[in-house]
């Protein structure tokens, strides 16, 4: 296994006290595999991704384990983590305009990790940067390498970010909403690019998104998060064909579909997600869930295995099966 996350919890200090943002999340990923983490705002998906990168906000505390290539990332110090970051594991952020440094040329920013981690000379690193820009499909890479972020379009900036992430041939790439700020036609191209590059060099990919459809089309495996908890996980085919958790089912039915009858009532999920400050002791979906019983609010539901590695955390699975 390339990556094994076991019972990962993240606590974050806020003005209202310490809040648990991620609650006992477990998942694993092997070389070349793709995993999608899907969730709404406040689900803890981004914090999970940041924990893997060792980029949690100041004051955050963690428990559990993140085994990456056999080492527990939660036990590494900042210097060790820095050696790993950008080299063995790299991240693609949502908004390339804020993730790129506006004062440095694109080429310089792509060359930096190569100089740092690979010990390349300036000239060699710059030549490699141009080659990387070509690989991510930017036309005229020599000129683009000299350009500054503001001179590129949104899609081009995201390609440059991908080039930067690829530089040291990481074993794992974490992409947090990499296409949310982009138009749909550009989004499709960027997702194709990430998929192709991952397949070429046997990189594992974690794609974080609020959009289940984006995950469905790009990841073999999916993890559905809500209220800091991993509600359901498994092979994407299995989860889409036989969603077991009431939340996953609700999420699948809430979207309008092209081709559906106009004005058809959507299966809205009543209420709103619990805020991190008011996180219940039990299942975070209790109350919004049509199958809620008193026991749902009492304790964190244990994982229920549903064949293969299809897992759902719900004490009402049997009732959910009958309701379907």
């Amino acid at each position: 296994m390339l990556l094994e996350v076991a019972e990962l919890s993240v606590d974050l200090p806020t003005s209202g006290g310490v809040r648990r943002i991620v609650r006992s999340a477990s998942f694993a990923l092997d070389h070349g595999q793709t995993l999608g983490i899907v969730g709404e705002s406040g689900s803890g998906k981004t914090m999970t991704a940041l924990a893997l990168m060792g980029l949690l906000p100041d004051g955050a505390t963690t428990s559990g384990a993140i085994l990456f290539e056999g080492r527990d990332l939660l036990k590494l110090n900042e210097a060790q983590m820095r050696d790993l970051r950008g080299d063995r594991v790299a991240m693609i952020f949502q908004e390339p305009m804020t993730a790129l440094n506006p004062l440095h040329s694109i080429g310089r920013q792509i060359a930096e990790p190569l100089i740092l981690h690979r010990g390349l000379s300036n000239a060699a690193a710059h030549a490699e940067a141009v080659r990387l820009l070509e690989r991510v499909g930017l036309p005229d890479p020599v000129r683009r390498a000299r350009a500054y972020p503001h001179q590129l379009s949104g899609g081009q900036r995201q390609r440059a970010m991908i080039a930067m992430a690829l530089g040291c041939a990481p074993r794992l790439i974490i992409a947090d909403e990499p296409t949310t700020a982009l138009d749909v036609t550009v989004q499709a191209q960027i997702l194709d690019l990430i998929a192709d590059l991952g397949a070429q060099s046997d990189m594992a990919l974690i794609l974080v998104s609020h959009d289940l459809a984006v995950i469905a089309q790009n990841c073999e495996r999916v993890l559905v998060m809500y209220g800091g908890m991993a509600m359901e996980s498994g092979r994407t085919d299995d989860v889409l064909a036989r969603p077991a958790h009431p939340y996953t089912k609700a999420l699948l039915q809430a979207r309008p579909r092209v081709g559906a009858r106009r004005g058809e009532r959507l299966q809205a999920i009543a209420g709103a997600a619990p805020s991190a400050g008011a996180m219940p002791k039990g299942c975070p979906f209790a109350g919004r869930c049509p199958l809620t019983i008193a026991a749902c609010g009492e304790a964190l539901p244990a994982p229920v295995m549903l064949g293969g590695d299809h897992m759902a955390r719900c004490i009402r699975i049997d009732a959910a099966e009958r309701a379907a």
Binding site: E40, S41, G137, S153, G155, Q156, D183, V184, T185, V186, Q187, A188, Q189, L191, D192, H210, D211, L212, A213, V214, A216, Q217, N218, T236, D237, L240, A250, L251, L252, A254, R255, P256, R257, V258, G259, A260, R262, G263, E264, R265, L266, Q267, A268, I269, A270, A272, A273, R288
Partner: protein, 323 residues
């Protein structure tokens, strides 16, 4: 687009052009112009909601704002129920505003954090004459209830609500003058999926309950199809295809419409590959603006701009070689 049976259409946009002057590129150089909306005409008939789909920079938001006189067109006209808004005197325009309201994308940015919900929701009443304080309060309570909030929420401030509830407040504000036309610019794209469905259901209910017609702006085809009877696809300031929603989405005639439909993520695991990367060039001066991205472009496309012309099934398409 369907013709109105008797009387003027609810909204009629005639050859509307909106240009913006950009900053100078050189000192003493001329200020370049951007044609955000480049000669668009359409009609919105009462009871048939109209959707405009396009990517960022297509001019769809500018068009929506010009349609309800939040922007003055550079040329062309926007007529509400037969009267031209840019020719109307101030007082008359103010009265017309009661018939058209707007819902904005970001429910965090569009509500003043220092005003109570009562003041926010009641503000458009200023364009109605002779509404007493008591009438106003009753109208506010009624609008809040219509969107699923309670009348007691009127005393609260925006920060006390979640994103979905804030969008309900924004919708209540749009409803309070009992408008015929509501322009909604990406009303659900800032909301989580589970909340989107609530707001879309609400918008559908209000359509039936109050006879509201929407002019909906969105990049999301499924959202537009859910609400709208007619769709226009906009690309670089122009309509490239218009027509009844189901026909347009089931068998698009313009290659750009096809590309938008194919690129939209779907809940299935196999995916059609995206077409070749789009060129980011500003587009040729002559010919079809989409030609540089189009897989079917021929030499004629680069020489002659296609006009929007009718097809047999009620659609209009601006393409020399429709699919």
């Amino acid at each position: 687009m369907s013709e109105q049976q008797g009387g003027a259409p609810l909204l009629e946009i005639a050859d509307l052009v909106k240009t913006y002057r950009l900053p100078r590129e050189r000192l003493f150089g001329p200020r370049p112009q951007l044609r955000a909306v480049d000669g668009v005409s359409f009609r919105v008939t009462a009871g048939r909601s109209f959707g405009i789909v396009g990517e960022s920079g297509s001019g769809k938001s500018t068009l929506a704002r010009a349609a309800i006189a939040l922007e003055w067109p550079t040329s062309g006209q926007a007529r509400l129920m037969g009267s031209a808004m840019n020719l109307a005197p101030r007082a008359a325009l103010r009265k017309m505003r009661a018939h058209m309201q707007m819902i904005f994308q970001d429910p965090y940015g569009s509500l003043d954090p220092r005003q109570t919900v009562a003041r926010i929701v009641g503000e458009p009443l200023a364009c109605l004459d002779g509404i007493s304080r008591a009438d106003g309060a009753a109208r506010i309570a009624e609008a809040l209830q219509a969107v699923g909030l309670s009348a007691t929420d009127a005393r609260k401030y925006p920060h006390e609500f979640s994103g979905g509830q804030r969008q309900r407040v924004a919708i209540a504000r749009a409803l309070i003058t009992r408008p015929r036309l509501v322009v909604a610019d990406e009303p659900v794209s800032a909301l989580d999926v589970s909340i989107q469905a609530q707001v879309l259901n609400l918008m559908t209910d209000l359509q039936q309950q109050f006879g509201i017609t929407y002019l909906l702006i969105s990049h999301d085809l499924a959202v537009v199809e859910h609400i709208c009877d007619e769709i226009a696809v906009m690309y670089r300031g122009r309509f490239v295809e218009t027509g009844p929603s189901e026909i347009l989405l089931a068998s698009p005639a313009h290659p750009y419409t096809r590309a938008l439909i194919d690129a939209a993520p779907k809940l299935q695991t196999a995916r059609r590959r995206a077409p070749a990367p789009a060129s980011d060039s500003p587009g040729p001066k002559t010919g079809c603006a989409y030609a540089s991205r189009c897989a079917f472009a021929q030499s004629k496309c680069r020489e002659e701009a296609p006009a929007l012309r009718p097809l047999v099934d009620g659609r209009h398409v601006a393409c020399h070689f429709p699919l």
